[in-house]
């Protein structure tokens, strides 16, 4: 009772009449209003901002830093990029270069990058939730948000949203895009870059239409079971086929094979070459620079050679007797699209090289393979398996149509919603972890999945994940002015007889011309402006390397005089740059000019650091040897090269010396005087 009367009296005091009630409510309202700003005192960002002020308080430049500091929620809003970032509410010192020594986050300044932080915002590169105002929601994916921050390991992927070109700063992204092509991922998966360029495969899976000419059913069986057992560097992944499936596929592949147009040296009786013949074969293999493209394991188990063509360590276990000879005689008879050039070998050379390669065998590889004659049922089952496994996505097979988009399109895989992903138990629930898992062990996501098992190193997988994470939906909605185009391969075709010859010799496998071709050998787009006719004619007959330290060299194709003349004339007439007039009259040099050029060469420009003019004295071997340069290049080219090397060959490492006209003239005179004594004697 006493309580009740006390309550009544309090009520009387506060709300006794309308004036009292109004006053009380007014005070309550004021208190409530005061709570709203006070609430911010408990926010994470407020705590961090207080911490920042404490941190800079004792520093020498505290006044400047404090002046630049703005409290409260900070926001970067870039409507055209869809960026709303509040990261700088906590990361307050991102632009304070003087705080380089600060190690505690969120107060570290941002490391140097080529972009302005305010023009691009944070989430463009780091992803995460820009609008969030708590640490947890901004950085990690919680219930309401989809996209966590991207781990530093894959950070280069964000560059790939705009950059289609190969940036120097993003080796991992470049490697990943290369691998998508090199390992044939894009045969099955379609991947388009944000500018619409479709990634094209750069591997060269052989057609299987004449496979019975090349190899046996037993080899196909063993290869299908485990390609890496035959060659550790094999591109073909392991489809983890069981014995019966491998048996039936091999039966079908043999059954669909038809004889190829292979001609040339008929297989001789299977005489095993003796030791001297093997030695001679190894020499012929070396002299023909087969190792520029093909690798063979040496006695120490190390691979020696390039990776443009398949590894040949066990080729003798694969190829039928005589097939290698026929193939080397003219590979295009078997596979018109092959990257292997048509060497003009004579029968003796073919026998030597063929014998040498046939001796590269491995008796264990097929030791346990015994196959019965295939039944019609097995062949039919094999055909069904070939269809189911999408073999024709990569290989040409008779009676099987190349499937369109056999596997899911990966163009926007980098922003696939987590809600749509089924994770394997124990896997981290993030997109990078999912993609990595898919590449590492695709079948762990379900035994019925078709993606085969690749043999990739950790860094290769990292590179692939980086390249795939660059395929975001955001990349396609960005303004096109931000996109930096790549250099997709052109479809340039040289014309006429020379064009046919270049196709036969597969110049494009190593050389690039007008945006098409490989990067193993020099770009020849302007070759016609640089070299002299006599030199080029002789070079085709007997290519000598100009760079003594190069391991991969131009092979000798045994071209005829007439073929050499056709190629030379075509190159000289067509592959020219407008900035060099090779036929311009060049004044015959005075001895004084030559002497001045010599001094410039050896002292002012110290060219001997990289080039050799006098083999007795000079040792530099980064650039080409210049002992014969006067009979190789023409004066106008040398002059222009000295003035601006990158204008003639993009990306050449010869530094631009900003050479004066007079210096360039004198050096040209000196270099043109280097005709090479031996050359004259011949």
């Amino acid at each position: 009772m006493a309580n009740r009367s006390r309550l009544a009296s309090i009520r009387e005091t506060l709300f006794g009449d309308s004036a009292r009630a109004f006053g009380t409510l007014g005070i309550l309202l004021l208190l409530l209003l005061a709570v709203v700003p006070a609430r911010d005192q408990f926010r994470e960002w407020y705590r961090y901002q207080k911490g920042y002020l404490r941190l800079i308080g004792g520093r020498g430049d505290a006044v400047t830093l404090k002046r630049r500091f703005a409290g409260g929620i900070q926001q970067t809003w870039i409507p055209e990029l869809g960026v709303v970032d509040r990261c700088s509410s906590c990361h307050v010192a991102m632009k304070e270069a003087t705080l380089r020594d600060v190690s505690t986050q969120p107060f570290r300044p941002h490391p140097a990058i080529p972009h302005s932080l305010t023009a691009f915002g944070c989430v463009m590169c780091h992803r995460g939730q820009g609008v969030a105002t708590t640490v947890e929601e901004a950085h990690r994916s919680t219930l309401a948000w989809e996209e966590p921050m991207i781990p530093a390991r894959y950070l280069e992927s964000s560059c790939g949203q705009c950059h289609m070109d190969k940036l120097t700063g993003t080796p991992r992204l470049n490697a990943g895009r290369g691998l998508l092509s090199r390992y044939g991922c894009v045969h099955c998966h379609s991947v388009s870059l944000p500018d619409g360029t479709k990634l094209a495969p750069s591997d060269d899976p052989p057609p299987l239409t004449h496979i019975a000419d090349k190899t046996t059913r037993e080899w196909i069986y063993a290869w299908l079971k485990n390609p890496q057992a035959y060659s550790g560097t094999a591109t073909m992944p392991n489809f983890q086929l069981n014995d019966n499936d491998a048996r039936d596929i091999s039966a079908f592949l043999i059954s669909q094979s038809t004889p190829s147009a292979l001609s040339g040296a008929a297989p001789e009786a299977t005489a095993t070459p003796d030791a001297p013949a093997l030695q001679a074969g190894a020499s012929a293999y070396g002299e023909s620079f087969c190792a520029s493209c093909h690798a063979i394991q040496n006695a120490a188990g190390l691979l020696v050679g390039g990776d443009l063509g398949p590894e040949l360590t066990k080729i003798g276990a694969k190829a039928k007797p005589g097939w290698i000879r026929q193939w080397v005689h003219n590979p295009k008879d078997y596979d018109p699209g092959t990257a292997m050039p048509h060497y003009r070998f004579d029968d003796k050379q073919l026998a030597l090289i063929g014998g040498f390669l046939e001796s590269k065998t491995d008796s264990d590889f097929l030791a346990n393979v015994h196959l019965e004659t295939a039944t019609a049922g097995q062949i039919a089952h094999g055909k069904q398996l070939v269809n189911e496994n999408g073999c024709a996505s990569c290989h040409e097979i008779k009676g099987i149509r190349k499937p369109d988009s056999f596997a899911p399109d990966l163009t926007t895989v980098g922003s696939r919603p987590l809600a749509k992903i089924v994770f394997v138990a124990g896997m981290e629930h993030t997109l990078p972890a999912y993609i990595e898992g898919k590449i590492k062990q695709p079948r762990s996501f379900g035994a019925a999945l078709k993606m085969p098992q690749f043999s990739l190193s950790v860094s290769q997988i990292d590179a692939l994940v980086t390249a795939l994470l660059a395929q975001t939906g955001r990349a396609f909605s960005l303004p096109s002015r931000l996109r930096v185009a790549g250099h997709p391969m052109s479809n340039y075709e040289p014309a006429g007889t020379a064009g046919r010859l270049m196709h036969e010799l597969n110049c494009f496998s190593c050389h690039s011309i007008n945006g098409r071709g490989g990067d193993m050998a020099p770009d020849l787009t302007f070759e016609g402006s640089s070299v002299q006719r006599e030199w080029l004619l002789a070079f085709f007959k007997n290519p000598n390397t100009l760079r003594p330290t190069l391991i991969r060299r131009m092979p000798k194709f045994n071209v005829t005089d007439q073929e050499s003349a056709v190629l030379t004339d075509y190159i000289l007439a067509v592959y020219q740059t407008p900035s060099v007039d090779k036929d311009s009259a060049w004044p015959s040099p005075e001895p004084a000019d030559i002497e001045r050029g010599r001094q410039l060469f050896y002292s002012k420009y110290a060219c001997q650091a990289c080039h050799i003019v006098d083999p007795k004295k000079d040792k530099g071997y980064i650039g080409p040897t210049l002992t014969h340069v006067g009979s190789r290049l023409n004066a106008a080219w040398i002059y222009q090269w000295l003035r601006a090397p990158q204008s003639l060959r993009h990306g050449t490492i010869e530094p631009d010396r900003q050479m004066s006209e007079a210096d360039a003239n004198a050096l040209t005179a000196f270099l043109m005087a280097q005709k090479g004594q031996e050359a004259k004697g011949k």
Partner: protein
């Protein structure tokens, strides 16, 4: 300069964040009392931020006579953000223990320590340095691999024969901190931009001012500073000390 500072930053970060106390181990008694722990391999590696080191880190526990001790417990401490896998374990019969390290997301020098329990419960430890390259240093490394290392790196690789021996003035390796740390940023930039003669050095060092952009040369400098051994410590740290 900025990068070099970052190295120092990471260093202090390491010292400030000595993480994870050693996990309790229940090992068998070691074969002898450990007296020393030494690095076998895996130190001074370069890696991009966020990536694993290419080679594992291998340490060995020795007793007072220098004989390997098997069954000794070893624990690693790495700076925040770096992940050791595994972070502790027991040495094998050869007295060695192997672990792999994934670098964190901050560029700079990562000081890893490996420790074991020595006589009378006192721990003995060894410091192992690893280098993490950020975007700028990594870009510098790419340029360096293309333009600089042909002469500045005396070692040849399978793909590249070093030109070091062919030069009259022997170039300094970029890791030669004892020499390069003494040259100021401005001088090094001028040297790369205008060539050796800019600093009265050999003309065999050509100018790159028209071949590489200013920011590219800055990246190369950042790389040189990052890989310096002994570490580069910038002089102008006026604002870096608390008063």
């Amino acid at each position: 300069m900025r990068t070099a500072a970052m190295g120092v930053v990471a260093l202090s970060l390491v010292l400030a964040n000595c993480s994870r106390p050693p996990a309790p181990l229940i090992p068998k008694a070691p074969s002898a009392t450990p007296a020393a722990i030494v690095e076998v391999s895996g130190g001074k590696q370069l890696a991009t931020i966020g990536t694993p080191l290419e080679q594992p880190i291998v340490v060995q526990v020795n007793d007072a006579h220098g004989t390997p001790v098997s069954g000794a417990s070893v624990w690693f401490r790495a700076p925040n953000g770096a992940v050791m896998q595994p972070a502790w374990g027991i040495t094998g019969s050869d007295g060695q223990f192997t672990t792999s390290l994934t670098i964190g997301s901050i560029a700079g020098r990562y000081k890893v320590s490996a420790a074991t329990e020595g006589a009378s419960g006192k721990s003995v430890e060894v410091r192992i340095d690893e280098l993490a390259l950020g975007f700028e240093e990594n870009q510098g490394k790419q340029w360096s691999d293309l333009y600089c290392s042909r002469c500045h790196d005396p070692e040849s690789s399978a793909e590249r024969v070093s030109n070091f021996d062919n030069l009259n003035a022997k170039p300094h390796a970029f890791s030669d901190g004892a020499f390069l740390n003494k040259i100021s940023d401005e001088d090094l930039l001028a040297l790369i931009q205008h060539g050796g003669p800019a600093l009265n050095k050999s003309a065999e060092m050509p100018p790159y001012g028209r071949t590489l952009s200013k920011s590219d040369i800055g990246a190369v400098l950042a790389y040189i500073r990052a890989v310096a051994d002994p570490p580069f410590e910038p002089k102008e740290t006026v604002f870096a000390q608390r008063q």
